[in-house]
């Protein structure tokens, strides 16, 4: 399944190659931007993550996520994302497989002016969240993007949602419903505008049900391979991030590698 998904995505990426450009491919790995793909076009991204839990566990976890965002209107996109756990670190099959599939919509409500940011609102629904088939979640997010000056850009997300599931209490099944929250803040330095971007992400994920607050600080670099560099690989963005956990619930450190393209 994983091999088929990867092959399909890679084939997709190269079959539908074209001379492309878009600020959208410059989206950080862990933070949403307010930009949406142009109408009729699609943003695709493949991300590999390797996280070392440090003293929170003995298992290094690796995952592959595939994301598509399709521009369905001038300011609206449809999202599809799936995250597949490749390895849970102990060599066994437990904990492996597709952990989450989510669908969503994002709509840009405000365009950036001198004083105002780009502002978008997004809703994501995960009919499958976690390895329990009954786990579901819905998350609503406010997304801000603002050019502070010609070299510095800031993205920020504020999200709140609900996660539901069925758990066995020992005396029977019970439905649990817990709040989840997301805060992402990413300042970006445009070392070479639209070609080389340096940034640091601060990502906060709160799960009240699991009583987990993951806080990670993640230096990241994005560079774009453009038409003049390679004939075939036109305007693909390559992303490298090195998350470091700041709380006991967070993985100690890791690496994330992504590639994205606008079709």
């Amino acid at each position: 399944m994983r091999r088929h998904a990867c092959l399909t995505v890679l084939l997709f990426l190269f079959l539908f190659n074209g001379t492309v450009h878009g600020a959208h491919i410059l989206e950080p790995l862990g933070t949403e931007t307010a930009a949406t793909p142009p109408r009729g076009r699609m943003f695709g991204q493949l991300v590999y993550s390797l996280l070392d839990p440090g003293n929170q566990g003995s298992r290094t976890r690796s995952a592959l996520s595939i994301e598509f965002e399709a521009g369905i209107g001038e300011r609206t996109q449809l999202n599809l994302e799936t995250e597949d756990i490749i390895s849970a670190g102990d060599g066994g099959e437990e904990g492996k497989g597709i952990e989450e599939i989510s669908f969503g919509l994002k709509h840009r409500v405000l365009d950036e002016t001198g004083d105002l940011p780009d502002l978008a609102f997004g809703v994501d629904f995960a009919p499958s969240s976690g390895f329990e088939i009954s786990d579901r979640s819905i998350l609503a997010t406010l997304i801000f993007s603002k050019n502070i000056n010609p070299q510095i850009l800031l993205h920020a997300n504020l999200g709140y949602g609900i996660k539901t599931g069925i758990s066995d209490t020992g005396t029977g099944a019970a439905v649990h419903r817990d709040g989840i929250g997301v805060i992402n803040i990413t300042p970006i330095y445009k070392a070479i505008p639209d070609k080389l971007m340096l940034m640091t992400e601060l990502n906060i994920d709160i799960d009240r049900g699991e009583k987990i607050s993951e806080v990670t600080f993640s230096p990241e670099v994005i560079f774009v391979v453009q038409t003049a560099t390679f004939l075939k690989m036109q305007n693909m963005a390559f992303k490298f991030a090195f998350p470091v956990g700041l709380t006991g619930d967070s993985p100690d450190f890791g690496v994330r590698l992504g590639v994205s393209k606008l079709f």
Binding site: M1, H4, A5, T8, V9, F12, L15, F16, G18, T19, V20, H21, G22, A23, P38, R39, G40, R41, M42, G44, F68, A70, E74, L80, T82, G97, I98, I101, D111, E112, T113, G114, S128, N147, P150, L153, K190, P193, D194, T227, N235, L262, F263
Partner: protein, 224 residues
């Protein structure tokens, strides 16, 4: 798990079908030899490599034919001929501006002249596009091709510099161009023209081009 596999495969296939009409955002179709040289000259001026900028200007001021090696040649109409044609069409003085900038080694004047030339070459394509709005035999594909040929001048020659000094305005103008394309696709030509006027005003102001006013709905371009 099997249900998940099915969902993912269906969505991937749908995504592939959805993306059948693929076209570029930045550059589509031809980038002429002159465009490449103009972009190089502008980049050299911005990088403060003034001598190199004037050397390259000298190479393409008149009509040119350069050997690329391996029996290949890069040929094109030069800056003088191109700007003369544009000046006749739009009653402008761009050719003189470029010539004075080149001969007096005034790199600011040369840069402004090249930016103005790029802008008017873009308008020329939009005028051709607009002249076909009343003609039913102009298919959408042809119109979109002409649109992109015009847009290329902005994306290639003007947008990179604007993104460095005013990324908010660069983004705004880029979105207006996107909207123009959508209006074209939706056959809403009146709105296309209104957006074009807004776009042209934005470019003239952002680059201080010193060109007067913009195209009107009834004319093909009246920049002076």
């Amino acid at each position: 798990m099997k249900r998940h596999k099915g969902i993912i495969l269906v969505l991937l296939v749908t995504a592939m079908l959805f993306c059948r009409n693929i076209y570029a955002h930045e550059i589509v179709g031809e980038v002429t030899a002159l465009m490449m040289h103009m972009q190089n000259i502008l980049s050299l001026i911005e990088s403060n490599k003034i001598d190199d900028a004037f050397h390259e200007t000298g190479m393409v001021f008149e009509d040119f034919s350069h050997s690329m090696g391996m029996g290949m040649k890069m040929e094109g109409i030069g800056l003088k001929s191109t700007s003369d044609d544009i000046d006749k069409r739009y009653n402008t003085n761009i050719g003189k501006k470029i010539e004075v900038g080149f001969k007096k080694r005034d790199h600011d004047g040369l840069m402004s002249g090249l930016q103005s030339l790029g802008f008017l070459l873009m308008l020329e394509k939009f005028d051709v596009l607009q002249s076909g709005f009343d003609k039913k035999d102009n298919g959408l594909d042809v119109q979109k091709t002409i649109f992109w040929l015009g847009r290329n001048y902005f994306s290639y020659l003007l947008e990179p510099a604007l993104a460095k000094k005013n990324p908010v305005e660069a983004q705004r103008l880029d979105r207006i161009l996107d909207s123009m394309l959508y209006r074209l696709e939706d056959r809403r030509f009146g709105e296309f023209i209104e957006l074009r006027v807004e776009f042209e005003k934005g470019v003239i102001k952002a680059f201080k081009l010193g060109l007067n006013p913009v195209s009107s709905p009834n004319k093909g371009g009246t920049a002076k």
